[in-house]
């Protein structure tokens, strides 16, 4: 895995926000700005969706993004494409090395399938996405497609298996993305308590933006 560092200084960031464990977050990043997502304590899933700020119907397209790079993992050099075929952002630095876009977001409903029927009433990423979207007003349920799970390690085997491996992230690992257009960033700092991939311990993550 190819790890790439950034020389950007946190003290020079124009915006910093710590997302507590299990919370939603929504902000805009302008074309040319750089967004850093920082895994503060390690192996925290940062479930993320991107939309064009000018036309929120234009959103991150996982299948086009994977097809165009001919690879199933996201890392430095990955261009995140939209459903209209336009670049939304490019990953410009990555000290973790691999991010998932096949595993989706946890939801009350999928938790009943994956774990047990009585897990329905636990907090979930879909609750966070909907809460942030509906308060913002520009996004709704139908805009929520497949997301990126930054810092999650979900290998696909040559036989077509999908496995959830222990994380390869750690405290202080980060990923940086440069915006190609004005984008809405929608994050759920994953509250999943049923999955060993985060050691059953959701932790905070930080968002930094540089001009």
């Amino acid at each position: 895995m190819n790890l790439t560092h950034s020389d950007k200084l946190p003290a020079a960031a124009m915006y910093r926000h710590e997302i507590p464990a299990g919370e939603p977050f929504l902000c805009e990043v302008k074309a040319g700005q750089t967004l850093r997502l920082l895994d503060l304590q390690g192996n925290q899933a940062v479930d993320t969706l991107f939309f064009s700020a000018k036309n929120p119907r234009e959103r991150y397209d996982p299948q086009r993004t994977l097809r165009k790079q001919n690879s199933v993992y996201l890392t430095t050099g990955t261009v995140l494409y939209s459903n209209l075929g336009n670049p939304l952002l490019t990953i410009t630095a990555d000290t973790c090395g691999r991010h998932d876009t096949l595993g989706g977001a946890c939801a009350q409903e999928s938790n009943t399938v994956r774990y047990a029927l009585d897990k329905r009433y636990m907090h979930s990423c879909r609750d966070n996405f909907l809460r942030a979207s509906l308060h913002d007003g520009r996004l709704g349920k139908r805009d929520i497609g497949a997301n990126i799970n930054f810092f999650m390690n979900v290998p696909v085997t040559p036989e077509g298996g999908l496995t959830f491996e222990d994380g390869i992230s750690g405290a202080g690992k980060y990923v940086e993305l440069k915006a190609a257009m004005d984008v809405i960033v929608l994050i759920s700092n994953c509250p999943q308590l049923n999955n060993p991939c985060n050691a059953y311990n959701p932790t905070p993550a930080e968002v930094l933006v540089w001009d």
Partner: protein
């Protein structure tokens, strides 16, 4: 009629021509068989709850709860509400792809060159985005609903570095997949080449569609019991009909 056939009478049959697109409600208890007539077919597929169309096929949920990236017999296709829109009750092909997505008009022209209606009439070069959008538009759906789609009959593997490989020859003439609907499911599909198919010629293949009435949901036992997750998925599905 033989005993075997009487258990699943054929309701209707139709040829979906190469490049064609269609959509219909597969009613609860019905089964759709899609047959690759010539070999090397590809069918891009979306599924939705026919009565609440904001509930849609969720491929990530389908893949992660069954710990698979390929789809074949025994697997279920889940909605975002934890319900089974369709169960793959039979499959003679063995591998259906969840990575490739569909090409748009620009990407089709880049790959195959120009192929306009004006010169080619109904042989014009169609693209998966527009074909699926047109069908979805008929149900008052739009671009928001064009989520990750399945590509039936196609196989794409991932190597140890994470790179994709399109495996040619995955589907032979006569291969089929059967989708059983335990709820009323809106099916949207189009028969176009897989986006990663290296063939530089625009050459989509036709498929045969046949609808069957299933008298007993015993046909879903394989899917229901293949994993504990699927038993709960069927439970969620049946709760709609309390």
């Amino acid at each position: 009629m033989t005993a075997a056939l009487s258990l699943r009478p054929t309701l209707y049959e139709e040829l979906l021509p190469a490049g064609g697109h269609t959509s219909f409600v597969l009613k609860r208890g019905q089964l759709l068989r899609i047959t690759d007539l010539e070999g090397d077919a590809n069918v891009s597929l979306l599924l939705l709850n026919a009565t609440e169309k904001s509930e849609r096929l969720n491929l990530p949920d389908s893949l992660k709860c069954q710990h698979t990236a390929k789809l074949t017999a025994g697997h279920c296709l889940y909605s975002d509400m934890g319900r089974v829109l369709a169960a793959i009750t039979a499959d003679t092909c063995g591998w259906h792809d969840s990575f490739g997505g569909v090409l748009n008009a620009v990407e089709v022209e880049e790959k195959y060159g120009a192929g306009r209606y004006q010169e080619l009439r109904n042989g014009f070069f169609r693209n998966g985005v527009d074909n699926l959008l047109v069908e979805m538009g008929k149900w008052d759906l739009n671009l928001q609903d064009l989520l990750m789609n399945l590509n039936l009959f196609s196989k794409v593997t991932v190597d140890s570095q994470g790179c994709f490989h399109f495996e040619a020859g995955n589907s032979k003439a006569g291969n089929y997949i059967e989708l059983y609907a335990p709820m009323d499911t809106l099916v949207v599909l189009t028969a176009l080449q897989h986006p990663m198919d290296p063939n530089p010629e625009y050459a989509p293949k036709p498929v045969q569609l046949s609808w069957h009435k299933i008298e007993s949901d015993g046909i879903s036992v394989l899917c229901r019991t293949s994993r504990a997750e699927n038993d709960r998925g069927f439970h969620n599905t049946e709760r709609q009909y309390l």
